[in-house]
Amino acid sequence: MEVLLKTENLETFIGQYHILQGVTFEAIRGEVTVLLGRNGAGKTTTLRTILGLSPPSRGKVFFKQKEIQELPTYKTANLGIGYVPEDQGIFPYLTVEEHFKIATKGKGDKVNERIETTLALFPDLKQFWRKQAGVLSGGQKQMLAIARAYINYNELLMIDEPSKGLAPIVVEKVMETLERMKGETTIILVEQNYLMAEYLGDRFYIIDDGKTVLSGEMKELKEHEEWRKKYLGIS
């Protein structure tokens, strides 16, 4: 088992607020690592801190054993980390095609091939190829956001609440897509939808009040209703 990404005691301030107060976790190559926790626990901030969008004041981030917490965001991303933000981060006035173009680096057959593979995984996007992304439905935007992160052969994808705001049937679709990506890429998934987390996750970490408080294999969380009650408020 290779540890692809690891954080050690991350602490992050936003303004004067001490948001992260010790986040420690590992993502193992090929697995889906789920970050769980109540609203406002610090899940989004954890992803942003890894990417350098909200840099940590203390603690370390390792990607393939290399320390990366000091790197600027674009360099971290170029190591092979794709990001799907909680608000999807779609460019509303660019077309779907332009989203693909801006996401793919380089030119030629390899790129075209990758666009083909990506479209095969997200077939609905083909229909909207020339449409401005702002007019897509919530689910289509989510698919576009995931496709945009997937297209670059990233070794690691960090996906923030892909089910947020979507109808159950659309959530199922997103889940199927992520399931097909599983194994091919390593995924760090932030998810409030416990069923989705349980279905996709291999390993979980619970973040509470800016700290990682509990972790284990997903099936352990499945067996311990009292953990879910205590930290997630669900049964």
Binding site: L51, K75, P85, G89, F91, K101, I102
Partner: protein, 286 residues
């Protein structure tokens, strides 16, 4: 009829000059959220350096290219030394760029003296055409043509190239562009340079139009350019062209028919936009 055509051409020419100034401002603001009050300084530097070059070589087209080059260099230096330290802080940006604007115009006086200098169009752009009874001043048409060339060149870059795509995406969501592995700081430097270069072009084009150049010549136009940025929508390149034409035409017609109101009308336009469509008329339309 003759009067109307003249006012039209006049308004369009002025509109183009304002557009060239506003184009840089709007992209700089849209992309990096930077308020640059030194932009009028690039305008004056373009005029002085271009007119000087024209005086030395007698080549007007080369003088245009020279002024644009000076704009590029000034833009690069300004971004590195003045703007970079004050990202994310509007108050500091206003103070430091206003101060730098003064430095730029004082430097002009040190180099070329404190008095205003004459500026003439070259022979081939002087005089006018007579079409029917309508007199059309060649130089004004020249300004319009150059402005349109600049517009379509940049429009093409924004729509068809990867860099242009990045600039447009950056205006919409800068963080996301960075998270996709793009060094947006470098792109911004480029945009800043091109913006300064367009401002310099605008200044040089104005020089023979108004007949004189002076160190503070950028001020009035910079104010109009800011009005245009607000009307057109921060970050909207096409919006800045349309709004500049609107402001140019309204200025030209108002100055003729109700001259006391010509500045007030532009202010009023801006206020109306701020009340009814504060994001600008063409926000997000590219």
């Amino acid at each position: 009829m003759e009067q109307i055509v003249n006012l039209l051409i006049n308004g369009l020419a002025t509109g183009m000059l304002i557009f060239l100034l506003a184009a840089g401002l709007t992209l700089i603001f849209g992309l990096m959220d930077v308020l640059n009050f030194a932009h009028g300084g690039f305008f004056a530097w373009g005029a002085y350096s271009g007119i000087w070059f024209y005086g030395v070589t007698g080549q007007y087209v080369l003088a245009i290219l020279f002024a644009m080059f000076v704009g590029l260099v000034l833009g690069a230096l300004t971004e590195k030394l003045i703007i970079k330290p004050v990202y994310g802080n509007h108050i500091q940006q206003i103070l430091i760029t206003l101060g730098f604007m003064l430095v730029l115009s004082e430097l002009l006086k040190v180099i070329w003296g404190p008095n205003q200098l004459p500026a003439h169009a070259p022979e081939w752009l002087s005089g006018s055409w007579l079409i029917g009874d309508i007199i059309i001043i060649k130089y004004r048409v020249f300004i319009i043509v150059v402005g349109l060339i600049a517009f379509f060149t940049i429009h093409f870059i924004l729509k068809k190239t990867r860099i242009g795509l990045i600039v447009r995406a950056g205006v919409m969501n800068k963080e996301m562009v960075e998270a996709m592995g793009i060094h947006i700081q470098k792109i911004f430097m480029l945009v800043f340079m091109v913006g300064a270069s367009l401002a310099a072009l605008s200044g040089l084009l104005l020089a023979p139009y108004s007949g004189v150049i002076y160190a503070e010549m950028g001020m009035d136009f910079a104010i109009l350019a800011f009005i245009v940025v607000v009307i057109g929508g921060m970050g909207s390149f096409t919006g800045s062209l349309l709004a500049a034409i609107l402001v140019g035409l309204s200025g030209s017609f108002m100055a003729y028919y109700v001259s006391e109101l010509s500045i007030a009308v532009n202010m009023l336009l801006m206020i109306l936009v701020l009340i009814f469509r504060p994001q600008g008329l063409f926000y997000g339309k590219g």
